[in-house]
C-alpha cells in the first residue's frame, strides 16, 4: 500500500469511528480525497517521514495532582512551581482559588518524565509546607478518576 492509500484508509477509519452510519460512504470518499489532495500540495515526502517519527515520539503521559491548601502568603506558587520545574514535572493545568477563606492551589502535573518519585516529590513539597504553614498533597490521578468517574 503506498503512502497515499495509507493516509486515505486511516482518515476513513477515523471518520467511520467518529460518525459511523451518520455519514454516507460517498461523502466520506469525497472528504478523504480532498484532504489527501491538500496534503500532497502542502507536505513533501520528507516531511511525511518526520511527521511519522514525531507521532511515535509523542511523550507518554501520567498525571498526578498537587493540591496546596492553607493560609495565603507571598510566593507559594513560585516555590511550588520551582520544585516542579527542577524535577522535570510538566504543569498541564493550574487552578487557584480561595475556598472557605483558605488558599487552594491545584496543579495537574505530568509525572511521566519526572526525575524523582512521587514519594521524593512529596518530601520536597513537605519542606515548603512546613515553612509556609500549608498542607501539600500529591496524589496520582487514578484516585480521582476511580472515585469520580464511572
Amino acid at each position: 500500500m503506498d503512502i497515499k492509500n495509507k493516509i486515505e484508509a486511516s482518515i476513513k477509519n477515523v471518520i467511520n469511528d467518529e460518525l459511523g452510519t451518520n455519514i454516507h460512504p460517498d461523502k466520506i470518499n469525497t472528504i478523504v480525497e480532498k484532504i489527501t489532495e491538500n496534503l500532497s500540495l502542502s507536505i513533501n515526502p520528507d516531511e511525511l517521514v518526520l511527521l511519522n517519527l514525531k507521532l511515535k515520539e509523542k511523550s507518554p503521559s501520567e498525571m498526578a495532582v498537587v493540591s496546596v491548601i492553607g493560609q495565603d502568603s507571598v510566593g507559594i506558587v513560585a516555590d511550588v512551581t520551582r520544585i516542579l520545574a527542577e524535577n522535570n514535572a510538566n504543569i498541564e493545568a493550574m487552578n487557584q482559588a480561595i475556598v472557605s477563606g483558605y488558599f487552594a492551589l491545584i496543579i495537574t502535573i505530568n509525572i511521566a518524565k519526572m526525575n524523582i518519585t512521587i514519594d521524593e516529590l512529596q518530601t520536597r513539597m513537605g519542606e515548603i509546607a512546613d515553612k509556609k504553614n500549608l498542607k501539600i498533597y500529591i496524589q496520582h490521578e487514578n484516585i480521582f478518576k476511580n472515585m469520580n468517574r464511572i
Binding site: S67, I69, V99, D119, Q122, Y137, Q139, E141, M147, R149
Partner: protein
C-alpha cells in the same frame, strides 16, 4: 482528564479530615502445599511460605499509599485454616509450638495480625479438631499476632451445639489465661456462622479451602466520611435521600479501595481477590458507626429506631459498593464492635445500648456481637447460649454472624477496661443471669433450617 476543584478537595477532605482509609490489605496464603506429616516441619514450611510470599507486603502497601495519598492502616496475612493443615497425631503443647513459629513469621515481615488459627466444625468435630480447639486459648495467650476463628454453624448444615458449648469454654479459658491483660486473648477469637472464605478483617480472617495460592483482599472503611455526608443533610431530607447519600459515598470509598487493592496485588505479583466494604469504626473521634445512626435522627444509638436506621445504613452501603465493584466480598456491611466505636461504647456504658439491643442489631448488619465486655463471672454455659442465639440469627437469615465477647476476670458491671490501639476501651455491661445450662448441654446439632433446601 480534568477534574473539578470540588472533586479534588472532596477526596482530600475525606482522607485528611474524615478518617477515610484502607483499613487493611490482607494477603491470603494457601498452605495446602506445606503439609509434611510432621507438625514441626509443617510449621516451618508455613513460616517459609509466609516469608517467601508476603515479605514485601509492608513496603508494597506503603508505596501505594504514598502514591495515592491514602492511609493503609493494617497489613495482614490470612492463612488456610490451620486445623486443616496441621491435622495429625499431636497434642496441645505441639500445637502451641507450631503456632509460635508461625507467629514469629508475622513479626519478621512487620505485619499486624495473622488470621487462620481456625477450625471449620459446623457439622462435626474430629478428634484432632477437638484438641485444636482446646489449644486455641493457650495459643492466643502465648502469641502476639495470631488470630483464631471457629465456624460452628452454616445455613446448609445447621448449628453444631457440641462445638458451641466447647467454644463457650474456650472463650472463658482465653479470658482466664490473659486475665492480667484485660482478657485480650478473647479479642483475637471469633465464633462464626456462615464464615466467609475471603474476609480480610481480623480476628475472623482466613484463606478458605476454595481459594487460590496467594490473593490480596482489601478492607476499606470510612464511617467518618459517611457520617459527614449524612450530617450535612437537612432534618427534613426523607430517608430515601439519606439512603441515596450513603450509597453515593459508599461508591466512592469502594472505588478507592479497589484501586489500592489492585495496585498492591500487582506490586506483590498476587491476584486481587475481593474488596470488603465494611464501615469499620475505630476509637478515633469521628470514626464511629453510632455517630451515623445518631446523625440520621436518633437521640442516642440504642434507642428505638436504632435497628431500622442500621438496616438502612447497611443496605445502602452494600448497594453503593456493589455498583462500584464487581468483586465485593468478605463481610461487607456496617460493623458494630462496641469497644472499638467510641460513641457506641459510651452509649453502652450509659445503659442506652443494651446487650439485647446489640443482638437485635446484628440481624440487619455485619457482623455480630462484637467486642462486648461482660462480667467475668459469666459462665461458659451462658456464653455458649449467647453464641447459640447469635449464630441462629445467621443460620436462619442465610448471613454471616459472629461472636467476640470478653468475659473479663474479676470485673463486674460498670468496671472499665482499656485494650489500647484499635481495640479501644469498654465498660462491662450486664447479661441475663438466669441459666440456659440444660439447653446448651443437650448437645447434638440444631438441624439446618428449611431455607437450606434450595436445590
Amino acid at each position: 482528564m480534568n477534574f473539578d476543584v470540588s472533586e479534588i478537595l472532596e477526596t482530600i477532605k475525606m482522607s485528611a479530615l474524615e478518617n477515610l482509609d484502607v483499613r487493611t490489605v490482607t494477603a491470603g496464603i494457601n498452605l495446602f502445599d506445606c503439609t509434611t506429616g510432621s507438625i514441626n516441619s509443617t510449621a516451618k514450611k508455613i513460616r517459609e511460605k509466609i516469608l517467601n510470599k508476603a515479605s514485601q507486603i509492608v513496603p508494597a502497601a506503603e508505596k501505594v499509599a504514598k502514591k495515592y495519598g491514602v492511609k493503609i492502616v493494617n497489613k495482614r496475612v490470612s492463612l488456610t485454616p490451620l486445623s486443616l493443615v496441621l491435622a495429625g497425631d499431636c497434642g496441645v503443647e505441639e500445637l502451641i509450638k507450631a503456632a509460635q513459629i508461625i507467629d514469629e513469621a508475622g513479626k519478621e515481615i512487620g505485619i499486624d495480625f495473622i488470621g487462620g488459627y481456625s477450625a471449620l466444625v459446623h457439622k462435626g468435630i474430629t478428634p484432632f479438631e477437638s484438641v485444636f480447639i482446646d489449644s486455641i486459648p493457650h495459643v492466643l495467650a502465648s502469641t502476639e499476632r495470631l488470630c483464631s476463628s471457629v465456624n460452628v454453624a452454616t445455613t446448609k448444615s445447621g448449628i453444631n451445639m457440641d462445638a458451641v458449648l466447647k467454644m463457650g469454654h474456650a472463650v472463658k479459658k482465653a479470658a482466664e489465661l490473659t486475665a492480667e491483660r484485660q482478657a485480650i486473648g478473647c479479642a483475637k477469637l471469633v465464633i462464626f456462622a456462615n464464615i466467609p472464605e475471603d474476609n480480610p478483617f481480623m480476628a475472623g480472617a482466613l484463606h478458605g479451602p476454595g481459594e487460590g495460592d496467594c490473593t490480596i483482599n482489601v478492607g476499606v472503611s470510612g464511617p467518618g466520611v459517611v457520617h459527614r455526608a449524612v450530617k450535612s443533610l437537612p432534618h427534613n431530607a426523607d430517608l430515601g435521600i439519606v439512603a441515596d447519600t450513603v450509597k453515593k459515598t459508599a461508591f466512592k470509598i469502594t472505588r478507592m479501595g479497589e484501586l489500592i487493592g489492585r495496585e498492591v496485588a500487582k506490586e506483590l505479583g498476587m491476584t486481587f481477590g475481593i474488596l470488603d466494604l465494611s464501615l469499620a469504626p475505630t476509637p478515633a473521634i469521628g470514626d464511629s458507626v453510632a455517630d451515623i445512626l445518631e446523625a440520621m435522627g436518633l437521640e442516642v444509638c440504642g434507642t428505638h429506631g436504632t435497628t431500622a436506621a442500621l438496616a438502612l445504613l447497611n443496605d445502602a452501603v452494600k448497594k453503593g459498593g456493589a455498583f462500584a465493584s464487581s468483586f465485593v466480598g468478605g463481610l461487607s456491611g456496617a460493623f458494630i464492635p462496641v469497644s472499638e466505636d467510641s460513641t457506641m461504647e459510651q452509649r453502652a456504658a450509659d445503659g442506652h445500648l443494651t446487650f439485647d439491643k446489640l443482638e437485635a442489631m446484628t440481624a440487619v448488619c455485619s457482623v455480630g456481637m462484637d467486642m462486648i465486655a461482660i462480667p467475668g463471672s459469666t459462665s461458659a454455659e451462658t456464653i455458649a447460649a449467647i453464641i447459640a442465639d447469635e449464630i441462629s440469627i445467621g443460620v436462619i437469615n442465610s448471613k454471616t454472624t459472629a461472636v467476640r465477647l470478653l468475659p473479663v476476670p474479676g470485673k463486674n458491671v460498670g468496671d472499665e477496661i482499656t485494650l489500647g490501639g484499635l481495640l479501644g476501651r469498654a465498660r462491662i455491661i450486664p447479661v441475663h443471669t438466669k441459666s440456659a445450662e440444660i439447653f446448651v448441654k443437650r448437645g447434638g446439632r440444631i438441624p439446618a433450617p428449611i431455607q437450606s433446601l434450595k436445590n
